[in-house]
Symmetry: C2
């Protein structure tokens, strides 16, 4: 059953008019404007690149498109951003398989986070101006060269922050911050288990744990990542692929841990719950165990579903433990905005700093997804709208893929059908 | 099926030797001693009163006994406390019905908290001395005139604290504090739903909420208690008996609340979970809905069990909510000790102050239990080891019982079999 694919929608021809699939950040065009909304005189179509999910399935469902369109009319409160870098998240791997319900139906421009420069501002926008370097956060629609966004969903970047860092910040750091400080109650002396400690959220959580005194961090990752995550602040790196992490943690801390960050789901949630100390909290914020092959795997989903922790309240009382679910997509804009400002402050203070694993150009989005799928990345994978230059050097600052052991689940699927999945289309 | 009773154990004759049913606080005797453990020369039996659970069932299973016994030999680290006041808790109502698994099997001296004066100290006890006024906290064994306890489970009382206040502090305030600050993460501006807001934990939680800025408190209680709980700090008192509290809360706060304290269980847990805002936490710390009549009610238990919230982790993620269980009996001694010191500091600062509902003598323990069972109390019910004097005035400073409406569930059982359930036995 591995690799079973959901029905895919037929690939659409290049769109010529405004894409309305995503209301929150409609695809938009615009040459730099000085200020204010412009009357629709002298309209001149312009072109820009975007990464579009055409249907559910493998890497081949994600296409680079070049759209040509009239200049957009900004509404009051909106800004036009020229995107310089975007973040890739695990949610996009789920979304491509049809497993992420907050992404509008295909065809849709993917992407939840990016950074760039403001090219135009609509009416009533007072705290942003043309030329501002900003981070943009939205539910979708960010993986394109030009994005129309509400000014409220943009955040001015500190001077010393690179575009890659800006694009790497929102999803991973908002998730880690809210889990540690809004859902759980991280305080001095507590212990935390971070799964996938070399991933984007894992590295963010490790850095944020260190903003609190004497926190002990257990981090699971394959052995090749241990040196990096230990340098990053993980107290006890554990190779989950050669050792039983429950046993390893019990050897070091017989009573277990205070907080478990669980992006995996399934049987790992049960193990994590068992590892909690009394008054401890487990937070489930993903179902990475659902994702094995390149396409939706019904068997993996069924296993994850079957093995998920089911609880009743009497059991929770007897155990004296808490279990929480977290989904950034359901958090209020107000809390996101407040937390983004705290994170930017922590960045300026030097307490957090996104770790960039690698940068891929839009036309390489399939390779970028595969790198994350196979858990080869340490830190954030970035997508760049700018076309790749000929003879450009490899974009990863991590170990070459050959030297990194593959995740066992990812390794179950052959890679042969994953080549050439992204085609550049021009009109 | 109402009032179905578990098999009860035969009542035992008066014991003459040391009661060994409860290891953590063995029943103990002792005239005041100067210090240290005394050699067992010149032993002279002494007598003291205690409240003993003889078997599971109605109020008649709780007996006042007078024990006569040799002076105990204190072990190293132990102290002998002459108890002046004890606290009654809902757990003792559950325990009498055989529904509290942490109480040793009957016959057993009940009681988890009390206050009194140290009469003797064992070897190696350096920070307690004869004459110290202390609070004592244990899993059982406190409802007696003389208690042998580990010095570590005693806490020196501030000068201005009465014995009644000291006895009222541990269970209610430890529970409320840990729920609000260790399990949930109460912070400025948050909203909290407190069920049974006129009860011991309810009043403690209300006071502790006010140690944080701008917390909004919704409190359920029968209408007769509203004036008192509003004065105590409940922002929005709600009469759960004449109104749907879910509707009432939604009228005031359409998005719901951040924290729900749930001592009820069953369908109320489901309602509470529904009331949570995203990132909110519900804490289940009791099953008061199980207790309807005087004896174990299998139907009420089945209903509570059937209606309890069952959750899987995917549902939690979609809801973006947390659910926790809390049981003071499973908390480490270290955390209890640390929290007691924080609570005593808050008392000295005038930020918390136990509200004493009424005081009953040991021989009136059945009346005391009935008052709590029928939810007539506002605040703490205290038990006094000292015998009741003839012509003593009524001991309650709350409304006379006749004027307080009865809880509907408690009212389903006739009171006639509850008279004369406590008999004083002397040898």
């Amino acid at each position: 059953m591995s690799g079973e694919e959901a029905p895919t929608q037929q690939q659409q021809p290049e769109q010529e008019k405004t894409d309305t699939a995503d209301e929150s950040t409609p695809a938009a065009a615009g040459a730099p404007q000085e200020s204010g909304s412009s009357p629709s005189t002298e309209e001149k179509p312009i072109s820009w690149r975007s990464v579009v999910l055409m249907g559910y399935g493998g890497y081949d469902k994600v296409k680079l498109q070049v759209k040509t369109q009239n200049k957009p009319q900004l509404k009051a409160g909106e800004v036009l951003v020229c995107i310089k870098a975007c973040g890739l998240n695990f949610a996009e791997l789920l979304a491509r398989q049809g497993l992420y319900d907050l992404l509008p139906a295909p065809p849709v421009v993917m992407g939840m986070e990016g950074s760039g420069v403001i090219e135009a501002v609509g009416e009533s926008v007072e705290d942003r101006k043309v030329g501002d370097r900003v981070i943009v956060f939205s539910r979708s629609g960010i993986w394109q060269e030009l994005v129309v966004a509400s000014a409220n969903s943009t955040f001015p970047m500190p001077e010393q922050m690179s575009f890659e860092e800006g694009a790497a910040l929102p999803v991973n750091y908002l998730t880690a911050y809210m889990i540690l400080f809004d859902v759980a109650n991280l305080r001095p002396g507590k212990s935390v288990l971070i799964h996938m400690a070399g991933g984007g959220v894992g590295i963010a959580a490790t850095q944020l744990c260190h903003t609190v005194e004497e926190v002990i961090i257990f981090g699971t990752a394959s052995a090749s990542k241990h040196e990096t995550i230990a340098q990053g602040g993980v107290t006890h790196p554990i190779d989950y692929r050669t050792k039983d992490y429950v046993e390893e943690i019990h050897k070091i801390s017989p009573k277990g841990v205070d907080i478990v960050l669980d992006p995996l789901g399934g049987s790992d949630t049960q193990k994590g719950f068992g590892l909690l100390k009394p008054l401890g909290t487990l937070i489930v914020f993903g179902a990475a165990n659902c994702v094995t092959g390149q396409r939706k795997n019904l068997l993996a989903m069924a296993k994850t579903w079957y093995n998920q922790l089911s609880l009743n309240t009497l059991k929770l009382m007897q155990a004296n433990k808490a279990i929480a679910g977290f989904h950034l997509g359901h958090v209020s804009e107000e809390l996101i905005s407040n937390t983004m400002h705290k994170l930017l402050e922590l960045y300026v203070q030097g307490k957090i700093k996104p770790h960039i694993d690698s940068c891929y150009h839009f036309e390489e989005v399939g390779d970028a997804m595969r790198r994350m799928h196979e858990r080869q990345n340490i830190g954030k994978i970035i997508l760049l709208p700018e076309p790749k230059k000929k003879d450009e050097e490899p974009k990863s600052n991590a170990e070459p893929a050959e030297e990194v052991e593959k995740n066992e689940s990812a390794a179950t699927e052959k890679k042969e059908d994953a080549s050439e999945e992204v085609k550049e289309e021009k009109d």
